[in-house]
Subunit: 440 residues, 2 copies
């Protein structure tokens, strides 16, 4: 790749011009240009929609869109849309769905749905004085922001509370207004951020206008106003439960009691060991993010929130828990999930819209339950494999096609490989040998 | 949506059959079927590739593929590929790239590249006795797994060490073998997991074969063997640095000293307040995940690792730090990032391959630096907006087209809207009014 000159005004170029600049970075510029265009949607209007989701867009990145059928949640059967690039994630969710379908399925419930936003400010006065003014400040802010909040209030949401947090022990003169919101089914970001910015200017004027404040007390410097992605009180619980006897599995050299015991140990380990906890929870997010991506939700927000929650005790731990009592096995996931089913990409992205339709157009609470269940299903599948036959056997089998594609295997070679590896351990090495033998 | 009967053997159906089952879930089945197919790649061979990445695949989910030009890293200019559904992420990265381009750009360095795997086992003997056997166990495991490790060793990687971790104080009879690996440029998962499963069976046979062990000591129950996604010693640092005077920004009502002071406060707040830290770090992952997605890396692994690292002190904190000293402003991100540039999707996904080409086919270490820099760039852009004009002004402007698309705005309406909102605050409400006025 030749060193390129700085590009001025790239964002002002039209798409074709941008595409040409980008193509010039490739050694096979013409091929590259043609290939990038093969990923455009055939309908130029739809393609324009994708282009306008983000900036400097030149094409689309394809992620496989799969489904996990037969996911039984609170007695209702779902076909769960999953968007994920990693092999074995959809398979694990589907296999767990099947495993639990005849054991009552998955259960889920909403614990709470509160969102959070903060105005961070520096103010040079005593915490005591500020506290006495809080009822008046709160009133001014809530009334003053009605222009922004009235539509949300009509839909049953709005500002729940505004609280003063004294943080001066952490940082000199630093306070917070911590506001809590109910945002119903909507993507909350714009509503909360607009409300907070309004609070922030109302707060500043409160200090200048009120005669109880003198000199430096009149100045309030707002450092920033923004929602928090950490929403520990926007919480959902998903669980499965059955008699231990029902954990019998064909082809596994382990009785149900031994399986339950070992499964329990695996989860306890993820609770006491952070190195294991990270991977344990990552398996949960494999499922959660797949559905979040499919439904146009922001997976970075979900990940940041869930992992912070996993560390809330002062140590990063497992998000799931096993209980074995009176012959019953119960496996529970509790996780904060702030999701939306209206607004944002959920309705704009044609496939996100289809994903929601496939789920029967759930509201945000129902989606929280579906997403949490899929996370639990994926984690259950992973632990089940880990404590029985190990992760590699199943995983590599799922990975078989990717490795075969790496060798540009023909359809015939693929078919033979599937038969050949049916009862054998799959590894990159083994497949490579198989292909070599087959071709010679 | 009518309640559906359980679907048996869904995974065994061919793609067309799967598609028809899925379509039957939609009220407009025929339209849905047709629409799902519009997202297929025109080249059936390429489409088959996407189908085989995952399971039960029926179509593709499109993510906008954009670029951030002019990203100067260690003196070299990059055109950074970013795959992200959130508006303003690519714009923020590009704007930070531009801001820093004439101030020496971004700097980055690799601190370490160690990967981790664990064999978790239950053994009923004393920790002291086990410790005396560790040198012999380690030797047996490393030599015994040569079949799996020799190819990685040829490429300069392999097993670095195997350590015994006594966890009996946390859980009765629970020990770990903690193995460290160097995996060079490859996606490490399969190599590490296969090595660990081999270690696990070698460990079991060590106990049965060695005459120093009697009775219960001969039994070693391996709970599970698997890599850890938490790799605090696979670490990269990215930073920017300039004279405070250089932080002058046109159109901002704040001098460079005041800006630096306020920026510093914003980062300090993210260090002392977890609610803010989560969102602060989420902004870093906006950039990191965009490049991870574009290059076929596993973003769930990256997220799980980075957030665990953010909580390592016992409190979830900011991943970045500001230093203001001797008239210099320095902003640093330190983050563990286990990435691959060969194997897995990186070479199989045509667009992931193109992304790596666009970056000049970096090795894993170079990619770690590019990804970390993009994370820092995004976070810098977010904090810069937050402490100056607020997040909403810029964000809503980026969001303008999405809202206009929501109203099916024509090209003419879009053009007028861009001009109209050039100097005005954008909100959903305002745009809705604009469209209504324009159309009446």
């Amino acid at each position: 790749m030749p060193e390129k000159k700085p590009i001025n005004g790239f964002s002002k170029l039209n798409k074709q011009e941008k595409l040409e600049v980008v193509a010039s970075y490739f050694e096979d510029s013409e091929n590259a240009l043609a290939e990038l265009q093969t990923f455009w949607h055939n309908d130029p209007k739809k393609q324009k929609l994708f282009d306008e989701f983000s900036e400097n867009t030149i094409t689309n990145f394809f992620f496989p869109f799969g489904v996990a059928p037969n996911m039984l949640i609170n007695g209702k059967k779902y076909m769960v849309p999953m968007v994920i690039e990693e092999s074995s994630v959809v398979a694990a969710a589907s296999s767990s769905a099947k495993f639990w379908a005849d054991k009552g399925g998955f259960h889920a419930k909403i614990i709470s749905t509160e969102k959070i936003g903060q105005v961070h400010f520096i103010w040079k006065g005593t915490p005591e004085k500020l506290k006495t003014h809080m009822p008046a400040i709160k009133k001014k802010l809530i009334n003053g922001a009605k222009d922004i909040t009235f539509r949300m209030e009509e839909r049953g949401g709005g500002v729940l509370d505004i609280e003063l947090i004294d943080m001066t022990y952490e940082l000199e003169n630093y306070y917070q207004l911590k506001a809590t919101f109910e945002t119903k089914d909507s993507m909350r970001a714009n509503f909360i951020n607009s409300s907070l910015e309004e609070f922030s200017s109302l707060l500043k004027s409160y200090f200048t206008e009120n005669n109880d404040f003198v000199n430096g007390e009149k100045d309030c410097m707002v450092i920033m106003s923004i929602l928090s992605n950490y929403t520990p009180n926007c919480l959902v619980e998903a669980f499965v439960e059955c008699d231990i006897d029902e954990l019998e599995q064909p082809g596994i050299d382990m009785n149900p009691e031994a399986f339950a015991w070992k499964f329990d140990k695996a989860v306890k380990i993820a609770n006491v060991d952070t190195f294991r906890a990270t991977t344990h929870n990552k398996g949960i997010f494999n499922g959660i993010d797949s559905v979040a991506l499919a439904t146009g939700n922001d997976f970075r927000a979900i990940e940041a929130c869930g992992h912070t929650y996993a560390a809330r005790s002062g140590k990063y731990r497992s998000l799931t828990k096993v209980s074995i009592k009176d012959g019953k096995f119960k496996y529970t996931l509790r996780i904060p999930l702030a999701l939306g089913t209206v607004g944002g990409l959920t309705t704009l992205h044609p496939m996100a819209k289809r994903s929601l339709e496939l789920l029967g157009n759930p509201n945000a609470e129902e989606l929280m339950m579906i997403v949490a269940v899929t996370g639990l299903a994926n984690n259950f599948g992973a632990i089940k494999s880990l404590v029985t036959k190990g992760i590699q056997q199943g995983h590599m089998k799922m990975h078989l096609f990717n490795i075969l594609n790496h060798y540009d295997a023909t359809e015939e070679e693929k078919k033979k490989a599937v038969v050949y590896f049916e009862d054998k351990k799959v590894s990159f090495q083994k497949i490579s040998e198989f292909i070599k033998d087959f071709r010679s």
